[in-house]
């Protein structure tokens, strides 16, 4: 990685152009727009040649770390390998030029992908029906909660406006609930890191719409009391929402539908390896149990009973429309391709291999890093910082942030840090099923070296990273006097 200090605006020179458009032979131009409706002057965009543009963005890319660059053990993000065939199929010209409002009979191939992918996700998760329209995990959560509220309201039950969320949950859960007009009630975790069922029971009354859970939870632990939780919530008239952020642990092995969940979302960019794209686009399909199917957002893909052809339909009883068209279709094509590559044989190995890798790394490092809960983990686990961190010595203390930054020097992406909030020095590691034992060993080696350095040369960590294109940014300055544009 190499530092490069230009903004595209700084390459601009009056009169240069980088576009290739045909000659204008029309009698009229946009100059004929009435004056009062016209923009005054040109927009402030750079004027650069095509080679300028290409070099600039290639130089920018050289300052970026991706899964294709190296190991990316970012907890709860499932940074597995992103197959290249997925990119190829998603760009197929037979799909790329389809307008979303084209008549159904002209998009049967696209509708087939939507419909088959929905069916496959149903089978993999044990749900009855899926909408693929939500654009991301958070969008899926919001959609799922809209379905939950619609369910209660459709039964004339308007007082269910509270939602139970574990204290270990990701901040998105309460934020989605708030956007959906639900009041958040926290349920505590036990010292073993799972939901405290004794804390849960008294919360369950007739104002509770449901509970949001990740399983395995954010500590990477399977919620062993899930049967009991399911029975209690259902007995109280609530629904169970499954946050699919951690579905990779269970893929091919355990299905949320079989655990009794009523609504769930998947993150296709995690579990089904459509790339993260630097923060999107993803896709957050939502699956529901049979009794909620009629509440899925519109449009849905159905089949004409007369012709057997696929068609788009609008549901009047549903939660409503949550997207302009049918979701991030290009992303859906990648997930569809990934499932074709995996097939029945390999999908069964996905969860187990991810769990194998996580436990292997955990066992290899727990003598140097604090493991708050000694237990079999699923696809990820959380350390609470270094065992020897010179705690209490302000000049030598090494924090989780320092460990993360030093890892960058060793050519690894940092794990997720300071999440979950249950511990002060959380380091959350998720290795995924696509990493070899050699890569895992190299990472383990780096983490152990860092633990040594924490004792021998804490300043080296406290001032890390040293080998990256830029070093630690001044975030206080960025937030106090925000400069948000050129």
């Amino acid at each position: 990685m190499k530092y490069y200090d230009k903004l595209i605006f700084e390459l601009s020179k009056e009169g240069r152009t980088g576009f290739s458009l045909p000659e204008n032979t029309w009698p009229e131009t946009a100059d004929n727009i009435p004056d009062g409706l016209k923009r005054s002057g040109y927009p402030d965009l750079p004027q650069v040649s095509e080679p300028d543009v290409v070099r600039h963005y290639v130089n920018l890319s050289n300052m970026n770390f991706g899964v294709d660059t190296g190991f990316y053990p970012l907890g709860s993000c499932t940074m597995k390998y992103n197959p290249k065939i997925n990119e190829e199929t998603a760009r197929h010209p037979g799909f790329a030029n389809l307008h979303p409002l084209q008549p159904d009979e002209t998009v049967q191939g696209a509708l087939q992908i939507y419909s088959e992918l929905s069916d496959w996700l149903c089978s993999l998760t044990g749900m009855a029906a899926f909408t693929l329209n939500p654009f991301a995990g958070a969008h899926g959560e919001l959609t799922g909660l809209m379905i939950m509220r619609s369910y209660h309201m459709s039964r004339g039950d308007f007082k269910r406006t509270r939602i139970i969320v574990p204290d270990s949950a990701h901040g998105t859960n309460p934020a989605s609930a708030a956007v959906c007009g639900l009041e958040v009630v926290q349920v505590r975790s036990t010292p073993q890191g799972v939901i405290d069922i004794d804390d849960l029971r008294p919360l369950l009354d007739d104002t509770v719409a449901g509970i949001m859970m990740t399983n395995p939870n954010t500590l990477g632990l399977f919620e062993t009391e899930i049967r009991e939780i399911e029975a209690s919530v259902h007995a109280a008239g609530g629904l169970l929402y499954y946050d699919g952020a951690n579905m990779n642990a269970l893929l091919g092995k355990v299905r949320p539908g079989d655990m009794g969940f009523d609504i769930m979302h998947l993150n296709l960019h995690k579990t089904f390896s459509t790339p993260h794209g630097g923060g999107g686009p993803g896709a957050g399909p939502v699956g529901v149990a049979a009794r909620l199917e009629h509440l899925l957002p519109s449009p849905v893909v159905g089949k004409s009973p007369e012709t057997g052809k696929l068609r788009t339909e609008t549901r009047t009883q549903g939660a409503g429309r949550i997207s302009g068209f049918m979701g991030n279709f290009g992303v859906l094509m990648k997930a569809y391709t990934y499932i074709l590559s995996l097939g029945n044989e390999n999908v069964r190995k996905t969860g187990p291999f991810s769990v194998l890798a996580a436990n292997y790394v955990k066992e290899s490092l727990k003598d140097r890093y604090k493991l708050p809960v000694e237990s079999l983990c699923k696809h990820e686990f959380v350390f609470d910082g270094l065992r020897e961190a010179n705690a209490g010595d302000p000049d030598r203390e090494v924090t989780t942030l320092d460990v993360a930054k030093r890892l960058l020097d060793y050519g690894f992406h940092a794990p997720t840090i300071y999440f979950p909030l249950l511990f002060h020095q959380s380091i959350m590691i998720e290795p995924t099923e696509t990493e070899s034992i050699e890569t895992l060993d190299a990472f383990i080696g780096a983490m152990r070296t860092i633990a040594d350095e924490a004792v021998s040369d804490p300043d080296l960590l406290r001032s890390a990273p040293h080998n990256t294109p830029v070093r630690r940014p001044d975030e206080t300055r960025a937030a106090t006097h925000p400069k948000l544009k050129y």
């Binding site: 032979t25 597995k80 999107g280 830029v470 960025a478």
Partner: protein
């Protein structure tokens, strides 16, 4: 059989299990109740090789019909330069996560900063976020933001001339978020300012959402809106096609507080509806209420210029249920499409794209009227999309166009149909629309004559 994405040999598996102290892979799920372990077969296909996958996609693609697109309605067939695809395919961009570790994410952070700069420039607003999911959800977030910015008000006004999917998505969000929505009727194809004024008198309105170019393709004259809305202590939100903003009056020039819309028109292929890209810009005073990611400039420990995600105290991972939104990503890669596209186009390219679209659309508009088979609907200024009253039955007209490989004459209710022309349409294609219309009319006359003869 080995599998290309899983590197595990039998020996590797034994070594790893040994370190964990397990005999077999089954032991990894000993914490899961036995009856929850799935033992059946999944109803998914057997594993396919790349060759088989390619064949499958060729077969699927053959079930679609490629059409010459004369329809807009929120998704536009603009040209996307070859450079765009080349850059967005760089794996360093494609396979990275949200840029939390700024030291190894300067590529992503820098192009998002450029994106924000360009969007602020195009919309004439002070600042932009790093992008939203799509246009309709950006409108919904804008409406929630207006409620957030105007304490204790919870009603918003939506123009009836917004695209139907925008109205529907905003209504869905508002229904659950506890915001009352009043739809403003339209008059002569444009939002009725008098109706807006009347509604504002109640004093409970937080935001007013109107389109810059509306569902009929009309460039709305928003004179008087900002004054009326601000006098009522509400926020003016303008929904725009950012490509058009290179030539038409910007939300900033109209005095808007928030600008939103879909940036698909800036180099993103149609792709059957997604992924696209919502944008959200605002005036400086509201920046801390802006939802979504925002990138800011700062310096690193050595004083070097660098970029970080900033103003994070607004976001869900810190604020939880009090966050400005639940969104915790952006459509980052799509923002890269737009940034590269706008870099290539520059001010002249954007002008030319609009000139070509304007020229083609006005040519088609004139030619269709010349056939005598259409009647002017509103007679208002338009850019690349317009509606006409059709004297031909709408379904028959659409079918006649489809028969010659054209997707157009989208129904806008009653006998109103819309057409859209971008720079991607040639004169030959436009003439084909006109001759198909005439052929449709001749066929219909013949059918009527035949029916009468019988």
């Amino acid at each position: 059989m080995g599998f290309a994405y899983f590197p595990h040999t039998d020996e590797d598996i034994r070594t790893m299990l040994g370190r964990i102290g397990l005999e077999s892979m089954d032991g990894l799920y000993s914490d899961v109740p036995e009856d929850m372990i799935f033992k059946g077969d999944f109803e998914i296909p057997d594993a396919m090789s790349e060759m088989e996958i390619r064949r499958r996609f060729s077969e699927l693609a053959a079930k679609n019909v490629g059409l010459s697109v004369f329809c807009g309605a929120g998704a536009y067939d603009h040209y996307s330069p070859s450079v765009v695809q080349a850059i967005v395919s760089r794996p360093e961009f494609l396979t990275s996560y949200t840029p939390y570790q700024a030291e190894v994410s300067q590529g992503t952070l820098r192009y998002i900063f450029e994106f924000q700069s360009m969007m602020a420039g195009l919309t004439g607003m002070d600042c932009s976020n790093a992008s939203m999911y799509d246009g309709p959800t950006s409108a919904a977030e804008s409406v929630m933001m207006s409620v957030n910015c105007t304490r204790k008000k919870s009603r918003v006004l939506l123009s009836g001339t917004l695209l139907p999917q925008v109205i529907e998505v905003v209504k869905t969000y508002c229904k659950f978020h506890g915001i009352t929505v009043t739809e403003i009727p339209y008059k002569d194809g444009c939002t009725d300012l008098e109706a807006v004024r009347t509604e504002l008198q109640a004093g409970d309105v937080a935001g007013v959402l109107v389109p810059g170019i509306n569902r009929f393709g009309i460039i709305e004259d928003l004179t008087g809106y900002a004054d009326a809305v601000h006098a009522a202590k509400a926020l003016l939100i303008v929904y725009s096609d950012p490509s058009a903003l290179a030539v038409i009056r910007t939300p900033g020039e109209w005095g808007a507080d928030i600008a939103c819309g879909d940036a698909q028109t800036l180099g993103i292929p149609l792709n059957f509806g997604g992924p696209y890209l919502g944008f959200l810009c605002c005036r400086q005073e509201f920046v801390r209420k802006l939802p979504g990611r925002i990138v800011g400039e700062t310096v690193d420990a050595d004083g070097k210029r660098c970029y970080v995600l900033t103003l994070q105290a607004r976001e869900q991972h810190i604020r939880r249920e009090k966050a400005t939104s639940n969104i915790c990503s952006n459509q980052s890669l799509m923002a890269l499409y737009v940034t590269v596209y706008l870099s290539l186009m520059g001010p002249q390219g954007m002008k030319k794209v609009n000139d070509l679209s304007y020229g083609g659309a006005h040519y088609l508009h004139a030619e269709l009227l010349k056939t005598g088979l259409f009647r002017e609907a509103f007679g208002k200024p338009f850019l690349k999309e317009f509606v006409l009253h059709s004297k031909l039955p709408v379904e028959r007209l659409q079918k006649a166009l489809l028969d010659v490989g054209i997707f157009g004459a989208l129904s806008c209710g009653g006998d109103l149909v819309s057409f859209c022309v971008t720079e991607n349409r040639t004169k030959e294609e436009i003439d084909r629309v006109v001759s198909a219309v005439i052929r449709c009319h001749i066929d219909r006359c013949r059918d009527i004559v035949n029916a009468n003869l019988k």
